[in-house]
Amino acid sequence: MFKNYLMTAWKVLLRRKVFSFISLFGISITLAILLILTTLLDNYLYPMGPEKNNQNFLSINRLTIISKDQQSTWSSQPGYQFLAENVNRLKAPEKISFFTGFNDGASFISGDKIINKLRRTDATYWQILDFDLIHGRTYTDEEFDAGAMVAVISQTTSKEFFGTQNSINKSFIVNNQSFEVIGVAKDVSFFENIAYSDIWVPYTTSPSTSYKLGLTSGWGAMLYHSNKNMLPEMQSEYINLLQEDFISPDPEQYHTAISGADTPIENLARDIIGADNYKADSTKLITLFMLLAVVFMLLPSINLINLNISRIMERSSEIGVRKAFGASSKQLVFQFIIENILITGIGGIIGLLISWLVLRQVESSQLIPAVQFSFSINTFVYGFSMIFVFALISGTYPAYKMSKLHPVDALKGGA
């Protein structure tokens, strides 16, 4: 029976080439766009680089400060002072790391100015994140405490500064400071926004100590625990600390601190939906994404529904014959949904191919720095789930309409 359905579906697909092309085009493009977005999200949530253990740490990257009279509000990244005086007092994390965002670092090579991304971190940063070192090592606590002028640079930066030679122990200048290369790391994807940079140096090498002042802007923190089940406890402790025991340099002006220690999805929710909560609403974000995906799929689905209905009318004689020889409405609905799954399945495979080609192109063009997309098993699961949903949305109503055709009318060739 199944073979008969598939054979009919295949023949119908070949018989109406223009119709099939329009159907497949709509399905392929929609699914390709959805798959590209899903892959980007997947690469953000489940990175393959240094942040691959992101199930074991939380990040603090937003802080809102409100004055006592509630007339003033500051909302940005946290500042070093806030982290040092507050986050540092947390007991639940096994490790806490502070680091700056990635800033521009200017260097000159043969008289040409080049800009790299420069991030200043502590030594714990290297213990939490899992960098892939090609040469050398990362800086130690001792080097960090001593403010040693050492740097880890990315593979591409190493090539840029020193060509193909081994760059360990060589020096370079960035933002008028000279550093010695002690390690070369594999390039980090832009999507790994805690790890991403070209040059990493101890923040104790900052030209001045002014970074130590300021509750907001420029910094981030990671809270690590080897047991991922401890993450909720770390989140609660952080919220309690802010609500009960927030240390402020000026309690009148900087009275209330609102911030959260976020998982990657919460981090994204905080960026997209809003930053002014202790707990980022990731459920809302997931609902929003799913809603957008459904709305996005709805338009081509409506198009496909229309095309499917007109195709059914062309096939009314077949429907009449099948009914006359014993097909029940339920069997016909099943047949038509199988046919639709075949068409959307083909469209889906083309869509997968398109998205793979586009992502490969994005990778090789370096439109997004150092990005490497992986088509994980997740992507295939998402992809085929989308195809299935698409097939159901666009197939069920026409199938129902078809099954309700009266056999006598269907045999006459109309509804």
């Binding site: 008969n4 054979m7 009449g320 014959v321 009914k323 006359a324 020889f325 014993g326 029940s328 056999p407």
Partner: protein
């Protein structure tokens, strides 16, 4: 085999009521070959559709093999049609996208039967109508007469109790029409198949055991 009692069929549109069949009482005995004749629009096809459970009567009762059709529920009538009735249509109604063998297998798809058994029975039915050599052809590759023979194979493959033929030779020339009629006669005589055939052709009707005439939705005795 088939008994129609006090069958009425009325079609309603917004304002008009059309009586298609009125007080039809008809019995078709097992192994009988009857023809239904009458002018166009007299209700012949409606009568055949009601006999084949493709349409429900407005009033009246149908008995097939002694059992009253009590429910016209989709699943119930689909199963009855599949088990007990075979159809032959004037315009063949073969599925153009399927090969001959797959067209013939169609009624068996809706039964619990292995693919191997389906194939065996379909081959047997095609052999019965002399088209064993055409199993892998598509309908468009066959002549009208051959297509109708495929349609007959499809109608008999499930060994139905009753074969309903709606002007089976209407789209064929007299030579091919005669061939089809010979196959129907052979099915009736050799296999004992009960056949009800709607026809306009008086000569063909004369070859059946009994002629039922319909005029303005009523049987004329």
């Amino acid at each position: 085999m088939l008994k129609l009692e006090e069958i009425n069929k009325t079609y309603h549109t917004d304002k008009i009521e059309t009586i298609a069949l009125k007080d039809i009482n008809l019995t078709v005995k097992k192994g009988e070959f009857i023809s239904i004749m009458g002018p166009s629009g007299c209700g012949k096809s409606t009568l055949l559709n009601i006999m084949g459970l493709l349409d429900a009567p407005t009033e009246g009762q149908i008995k097939i093999s002694g059992a009253v059709i009590e429910s016209y529920d989709d699943k119930n009538v689909a199963q009855l049609r599949n088990q007990k009735i075979g159809f032959i249509f004037q315009s063949f109604h073969l599925i153009q996208d399927l090969r001959v063998i797959d067209n013939v297998e169609l009624p068996l798809l809706y039964r619990k039967m292995s693919a191997k058994e389906r194939r065996r029975l379909a081959n047997q039915a095609l052999e019965r109508v002399g088209l064993k050599a055409r199993t892998d052809h598509f309908p468009a590759q066959l002549s009208g007469g051959q297509q109708q023979r495929v349609a007959i194979a499809r109608a008999i493959v499930g060994k139905p109790d009753l074969l309903l033929a709606d002007e089976p030779t209407g789209n064929l020339d007299s030579h091919m029409g005669n061939e089809i009629m010979q196959i129907l006669e052979s099915l009736n005589k050799d296999d004992g198949t009960t056949i009800v055939m709607v026809t306009h052709d008086d000569e063909l009707a004369q070859r059946t055991e009994r002629i039922v005439r319909v005029y303005d939705g009523q049987l004329i005795h």
